[in-house]
Symmetry: C2
Subunit: 558 residues, 2 copies
């Protein structure tokens, strides 16, 4: 350790900054560590804010996890709230700071600088956007403002509009419904949760419908409607108007890279600060972590922004360690793992979706299974839909998505873990997962999905996309007559209904030379049917992914 204490300045407490500061202190008791935060609260549980607004987390204080006082007394950090870093001088190795308390400015010297500037909500420049009643949710002050608006009594009918059906938008919808609002949800894309594949989020859309949420897909926001400078609704680009005294914008975030950019630090392909695997920027004495930086994204190996709390924490921790010790572990590639609960359903993802793989120009194939989150014979089994995306040449797993009432987080974490090690679908098929009736099944949904993928790789089956055009195919529905009449296979005319157990005896009713689609409830009996027909000389047989269950989500009109 050098004679003179190392001077560490950290810009921004949230999204990795506090992790960096406390880790630096643990590794270096002598260092002079200053934590600058332009807002009032230096560290808080931002992921919990929607739940406080909705009243699930009643005590606001619970969100203030690492208070300035704790950081001062336990970690002997110099914490300066309401102090903004406005300029970095890389030659003099100082940072110009401005106090929002008294307006004074001063220069702070540093030996190592750690940037954790986070990201800011995107606010469109449209009419009315500055009116009272229009909110974004990024920090405690935002949350307090929304809470105050929510608490306002005396409104005959409480109406809110949430713009953006991403993770935060969906959490806000749920919590505002909880608080008695009639909520309209506006989304520019044609689905909720645009990062996920279309058919995987349909149970969430259904859940919103059941909760009475009025959802508008494919709708751009034209303006905020106001009366006496207060929001009274929104106008969509379609011309449609929606009432609402409370407007929450959840339209994504923009990384706060201005300071880094002005200091001449490199920005990357996706607009984030470039960092190496120990979180050094293009200036090795300046580190960065959190929502403003780019990480190595595991499934493609490319750098990109991933604005999630987990990576921010880990990257901040590494940056703090490396800044004082000069060595640390490497930041592991991130997988973009994310999860959201929407009323009774949960959706989660890790790695690439089919649409992301296509966008990245990667060959991919997918399998989707619908199975209980635990043994079907144990009470409370509920359908979990799991989609596995993999490379058709190597079988390497590229990503997974899941949706269901329970057990979604577990399956996504299993696949996220497997992704870390470059697992193939064959590896997933062999996982030794915990099984007792309340927790899983001897063949877990992860196994089932992997078995199907391996069957495809080995040429033992071929899956057809759930939304495929069935025109020109000989369609064989192998469910029982009762199932078929209760829930017909949609988007299909003239399907032959032959229950699986009669298929061998009635095979003469089918034309072996015609390309054939078999379909059942979720795909399990379909596979048996496919195997029978293929071995009886049928030219081409494919099994409809997810059977009638998945297809009926996609084409509910039938």
């Amino acid at each position: 350790m050098s004679e003179k204490p190392l001077r560490i300045v950290i810009i921004g407490g949230v999204a990795g900054g506090a992790s960096a500061a406390t880790r630096a202190r643990r590794c270096d008791e002598q260092a002079e560590i200053t934590l600058l935060e332009k807002d009032e609260y230096v560290s808080f549980a931002n992921c919990g804010m929607p739940y406080h607004i909705g009243g699930e987390i009643a005590d606001r204080g619970k969100l203030l996890v690492a208070t300035a006082n704790l950081l001062r007394t336990r970690f002997r950090l110099e914490v300066r709230e309401r102090t903004e870093a406005i300029r970095i001088d890389r030659v003099a190795r100082t940072v110009r700071v401005r106090s929002h308390v008294d307006g004074t400015e001063s220069d702070l010297p540093w030996d190592r600088l750690i940037l954790s500037p986070g990201a800011s909500p995107i606010v469109p420049r449209i009419d009315g956007v500055d009116a009272a009643g229009v909110f974004t949710l990024r920090n405690i002050a935002d949350m307090d403002r929304i809470c105050a608006a929510v608490a306002t009594e005396g409104q005959v009918e409480r109406r809110a509009v949430v713009v953006g059906a991403g993770f935060i938008g969906l959490e806000m919808v749920e919590q505002l419904v909880r608080r008695g609002f009639r909520v309209s949800l506006v989304e520019l894309q044609t689905q909720v949760l645009p990062p996920m594949d279309y058919e995987m989020v349909l149970p969430l859309a259904q859940e919103l419908k059941t909760a009475g949420v009025d959802v508008h897909y494919g709708s751009g926001l034209k303006s905020i409607l106001t009366q006496d400078d207060r929001a009274v609704g929104v106008e969509l680009e379609s011309g449609r108007k929606l009432d609402g005294q409370l407007i929450v914008l959840g339209m994504g975030v923009r990384p706060n890279t201005k300071l880094a950019e002005e200091a001449g630090l490199l920005l990357g392909r996706t607009g984030g600060i470039v960092t190496n695997t120990v979180q050094q920027t293009s200036d090795p004495d300046i580190y960065a972590a959190g929502d403003a930086v780019e990480y190595v994204y595991g499934p493609t190996g490319e750098s990109q922004r991933v604005a999630m709390a987990g990576p921010a924490n880990r990257a901040g921790r590494l940056a703090g360690e490396h800044a004082v010790l000069g060595h640390s572990a490497s930041m592991a590639p991130v997988m973009g793992t994310a999860i959201v609960r929407v009323f009774g359903q949960t959706a989660a993802m890790t790695g690439l979706t089919v649409k992301a793989a296509k966008r990245a120009g990667l060959a991919c194939r997918s399998v989707t299974v619908i199975a209980g989150q635990h043994a079907g014979y144990y009470p409370g089994a509920q359908p979990l839909t799991l989609k596995l995306v993999y490379c058709p040449e190597t079988g390497r797993v590229l990503g997974a998505q899941a949706v269901g009432a329970d057990g979604v987080d577990k399956r996504i974490d299993v696949v996220a873990t497997a992704l870390t090690f470059g697992a193939t679908v064959r590896d997933l098929a062999g996982l030794d997962l915990a099984y007792a009736p309340p927790f899983g099944a001897a063949k877990d949904p992860v196994h089932q999905a992997a078995f199907t993928a391996v069957n495809e790789l080995d040429g033992l089956c071929e899956m057809l996309d759930a939304d495929a055009d069935l025109t020109g195919w000989q369609v064989v529905d192998v469910r029982t007559a009762a199932e078929v009449s209760r829930a017909p296979l949609p988007g299909c005319v003239g399907a032959k209904a032959i229950p699986i157990d009669e298929l061998r005896d009635r095979i003469g009713e089918l034309d072996p030379d015609q390309p054939t689609v078999v379909s059942c409830g979720v795909g399990v009996r379909g596979h048996v049917a496919l195997r029978i027909l293929r071995q009886r000389g049928f030219r081409r047989v494919v099994n409809l992914t997810g059977g009638a269950t998945l297809r009926r989500r996609i084409f509910p009109e039938a």
Copy 2:
């Protein structure tokens, strides 16, 4: 495919046999597949039986997952129930079968034979063991007998004795309590769930106590006490007698290897049938799967028996495929992943415990964290205790155990997945797991445990076992005064109480030359204290694993 259909005979439906049969059919529509089962039910959900006895699974029919009828109609299997294979002739390639319906015997020819004989409950040869009211639980007939006994009305006080506190024993205890029995539990070892490390199962023991279960550790069973040939209790080797009209023996199982052994097939080190990675026995035309075989055990690479449903299913599936196609994937090493719910607590494990590692002569170290199963600020957070066992040289993960009210299965599945790929604790520290407040934390318990292990590997900390003798150590309890008085650190005289936030200012009260143990609530503040003291020149500082919380589980008398 050969002109003549392949003749496959499968011995035993449960524990892999039915999986083998249905997979063989999917891969070969022409094969003649015969499934022999000596009992009445060819395939059933044996893991669900305790839950039917307890009434959680009300409908008995739900356990009969793959009925003989289904196997016949859907898979065109020749199913012969109540038919026992009594001799294998490897030269003639026949199996001698005896019908328990009419007592006739005949020879069945085979081209490929698949053994799935399972295992049988261990029944000690003691007085009274054949009396009415003494049960084991292995098949549907056993279950039906117990159900009938449980349903018997008119007993003034319903008392049961369960012998063996393993997985099945614990499930039976819970379910019998559910049915109104006063239950005594007898275990030869000095803890419940002997496969797990002692301190990890203490929350289960507490749960049993709370439920009023009378547990007798370190107690061998001497005899069953009877009256008029009916059980009325048990006598322990200590001479102690326990009342009970219902006695359930859950003393483990013995693999049914007699048939294989008599046929000259190789048995392994742990008494199971030796198989290669495609489940062939020492005779390549004879396959085996399920509770009677040995698998490659991942953490050691050695062969051993692992009597679990998951591996049995997967091995059966592979055997069925390989038997008809001549090729298949390889059976992945098993990790011994297992889970059990005991009232409000769940315990699970994967890979090696500390005691198993020691038994295997492997160097190991462990870390234990106690943390919420999800973000502490979100309602419903409950302590989850996670223990990670790893190699002190390489950091390779050897195993994990967890216990808690919720989220146990997820963490164990994550580590089980990581084990498959030879993960190190450094890998675990970088996992990108799903986080939203209801599901986890930005720093998941898996991360926290891994961080600690990495700190140890890197020399940044040293953990002391939770049950260590603290004599001769300078003990510093860094909790607040209120915490210390509410829950003193047991097994320790003269601990110095210095709250973490005062440690730097009061450091003069401590002797830097004396070996020092720091302790807090669960270990988090202890780590901060360790880092402070070490950097202030203390000669040796160690952090008590799990702090006062874990130590108070081990020494509850304090």
